[in-house]
Amino acid sequence: MATTINQKQNFLKGIIKENPVFVMLLGMCPTLGVTSSAMNGLGMGVATLFVLLMSNIVVSLVKKQIPAKVRIPAFIIIIASFVTIVEMILEAFIPFLYEQLGIFIPLIVVNCLILGRAEAFASKQNLYSSVIDALGMGIGFVLALTFLGATREILGNGSLFEMKFVAENANTFILFILPPGAFIALAYLAAVFNKLTIKT
């Protein structure tokens, strides 16, 4: 069964067809909460990618040892351990990002995307497929967050990755870096994504 999976499709599904943000609506809290700039979106995406990859690996390795009844708590502990590692690494090496992302770092633990993949995929498939699945989903998440962050930063601040390309005192749509802008920007991006995926 596991060998019949086409690994290329397995990888690509996370990026387009089952994109965690635009299609599956998983992990919405960090998606909306931290994407006020492209840099924050990228940082959050990579942190989530790391946790997703590691937890998928571990879950797939120990799936036979975990009794079915306590699998969810067991998955949560595995995920929480990796989140703690990410938290400590960020605090030590990238304090700027640690400050910016704030409460959303410990909240990676309750990102439905990670638990969802552990439950729906890694607990049923072999190690190799799980790694590919985590990479596909994780990269899809990173791309979506960076893209949303970039959109909001360009519209709201007139800059991209902190490089300003409008005049210092130019009027920008400040709304887009405020909370309502997150919902509105994602609404239109999701509509565009709908349109594109329905056609193909």
């Binding site: 919405m28 809290c29 708590p73 309750v110 609404a187």
Partner: protein, 191 residues
């Protein structure tokens, strides 16, 4: 006075869903009917209050004295998961109809970032105390309930609206949430 400020700040100014983006999953998931959103709000109120009390005590009297603060995330999520299980068992026994209505979303309170988020935010309050942390949790769940019920009432009307094809479903819901959030932005500077 402190407590009134906490209440207004949590419900209107820093609304947990519309300004802080915590608890977005149930916000979109169980908001198609007002009745279910009321039930969900009740469940969140209950879980969030108890979870914040327990995690606050745990942090203050176990993790801090033993210097194990880095275990915060793991312990908190375990406490919340256990509590949700408990609420599920109680609800199943006491109110089967509500249990039916909430269905799949009750276990999902575990992964409701609002619960864990408030538990962590409560630790960072100025001269925090158990009473203050508990009150903070209650205020935030009222904020959550307000946002959820408002949103559900609007969504009930959306079913009759003529919406462009591409905007149907997710995009229009996000847009409505954005407009609600915009309205709540008007409360900035209230406290």
């Amino acid at each position: 006075m402190d407590y009134i400020i906490i209440l207004i700040a949590a419900v209107f100014v820093n609304n947990i869903v519309l300004a802080q983006f915590l608890g977005i999953c149930p916000f979109f998931g169980v908001s198609n009917k007002v009745s279910t959103s009321v039930g969900m709000s009740g469940a969140v109120l209950f879980v969030m209050t108890i979870a914040t009390m327990v995690t606050y005590l745990l942090h203050q009297y176990v993790l801090v004295p033993t210097g194990l603060m880095y275990l915060r995330t793991i312990t908190f999520i375990l406490v919340i998961a256990a509590l949700v299980q408990m609420v599920e068992i109680i609800l199943k026994k006491v109110s089967p109809s509500l249990y039916q209505a909430l269905g799949v979303f009750l276990p999902l309170i575990t992964t409701n970032c609002a619960v864990l988020g408030v538990a962590i935010l409560a630790l960072g309050m100025e001269n925090a105390s158990l009473l203050k942390a508990t009150f903070f949790a209650v205020a935030n769940s009222i904020g959550f309930a307000l946002a959820l019920i408002l949103f559900a009432s609007i969504r009930e009307h959306l079913e009759l609206a003529d919406i462009p094809k591409g905007m149907k479903g997710v995009p229009i819901n996000l847009l409505v949430a954005g407009l609600l959030s915009l309205a709540f932005l008007g409360f900035t500077g209230l406290v």
